[in-house]
Symmetry: C2
Subunit: 253 residues, 2 copies
């Protein structure tokens, strides 16, 4: 067990970051990197108390929150284990389309249709809580899964929050990857609809006549400000959104 514990050298008790948070992060990293595999037993709370020289309550909080996040499973009397299935929850998580496609074993490519500065329409002004006459960055792009178009992205970005957005090369990195690297949203809103695409959308997604699209719109906030408003349109016969999770983490009504 000591080999598992040695790697916690990076806990710094005098850092501004709370200790329980450092512990969570360290464990998350080890699971994400594959160093700790699904089903593997974690060090016990007492092991960690000794190894890290912190109180058991602190360890307990870190492990409890990891359980709530679905990363580990705990069994009373037995121990803590890396969770079997990392839940896939694209409905409620921000996931980079490129990663999503590549994780499924396919190859991702994208084509930027336009990246420009535009005046906000009244609708967008309201949705993004802007002042009248504001300018916005607008990106339109198509994402391909193995040569087949899978997603049409139409994104507005608030220049006040992301001034460099317009200078990026989004053929090299997706807009989602760029934005996630720039900020962590405080709040998100998702809406999902079934629509009939207009002719342009149908052509961009190479869809047959009469086929429906799944359309997801998302707004994200940072510091009470709408940073980005994006509409993602998918061919109905090639894509579905999904989410699976333990219900402890959510409020039922």
């Amino acid at each position: 067990m000591s080999a598992l514990i040695d790697c916690f050298d990076d806990i710094n008790k005098s850092a501004p970051e709370p200790i329980y948070h450092q512990i969570k992060q360290a464990i998350e990293d080890r699971i994400a990197s594959g160093e700790w595999r699904a089903g593997q037993k974690l060090p016990s709370e007492n092991d960690l108390v000794v190894a890290l020289d912190v109180s058991r309550m602190t360890i307990n909080r870190a492990l409890r929150e990891l359980t709530q996040a679905g990363l580990i499973k705990r069994v009373h009397g037995l121990g803590s284990f890396v969770a079997e299935q990392p839940r896939h929850a694209s409905l409620i998580e921000l996931q980079d389309i490129a990663l999503e496609i590549e994780n499924s074993g396919a190859s991702h490519a994208s084509k930027v249709l336009s990246l420009e500065s535009v005046y906000a329409s009244p609708t967008v002004t309201e949705l993004m809580q802007l002042d009248e006459g504001a300018t916005l960055y607008r990106l339109r792009a198509v994402h391909y899964q193995d040569e087949l178009p899978l997603q049409l992205e139409s994104r507005y970005v608030n220049p006040a929050a992301m001034p460099d957005f317009i200078n990026q090369d989004f053929t090299r990195m997706t807009s989602t990857a760029y934005l996630l690297q720039q900020f962590k949203p405080d709040e998100m809103e998702h809406r999902v609809r079934a629509i009939l695409p207009d002719q342009q959308t149908r052509e961009l997604l190479t869809m047959a006549d009469g086929q429906p699209c799944l359309q997801l719109t998302r707004r994200t906030w940072k510091d009470e400000q709408v940073v980005t408003y994006v509409t993602l349109t998918y061919p109905g016969d090639r894509y579905e959104l999904g989410a699976r999770y333990a219900t402890d983490e959510y409020q039922l009504r």
Copy 2:
């Protein structure tokens, strides 16, 4: 402040239910009942320590988890407050369609098309993790918003988990309300698609030709067992799914 606190008489330290959980429940109840309104200040942790005669760590855990659940907001140095907007998150929460419709100010009605015991098809057998040749309860119903059909419900229920399901009168209570009253799911899975409805579905939902449907399928687990598998089909032009939430509560990747 004492008036706020008096109502916590129902905390029982020797009950099997953990104290922090009883406190959470008591506060949830008061918010749900409207007794505590949005924006209202809660008693401070120290107030509650004195009033309930429990340790501050216990109070803190209850309030912290309520914060994670989005029911209250806490401001360092200021206090705890009932959250402004009860998030609407029908994408990730189980919500009774009748309540959802009535909360929007419309009237709800439903028609039961069939409620019967059937042999599980191979597909359903796999989706519900059953043994071959198992029998299931199946409910088909249409839900109306102000006379206009809004949802077609096609539900399979595991009789091993819910033996009395087939004896209920689902014209008086929705299946969701019944099931939520019977159990709290451990785990849920959602999938969302855009589809073209078949003719029967189109007629049941009184939809125009060529219009798409939004289709949500959901499986819920209790004790490692699939309890119910439901397909909810909505007219694409009359319904959208939505969710808004603080991102603290979720894992980003």
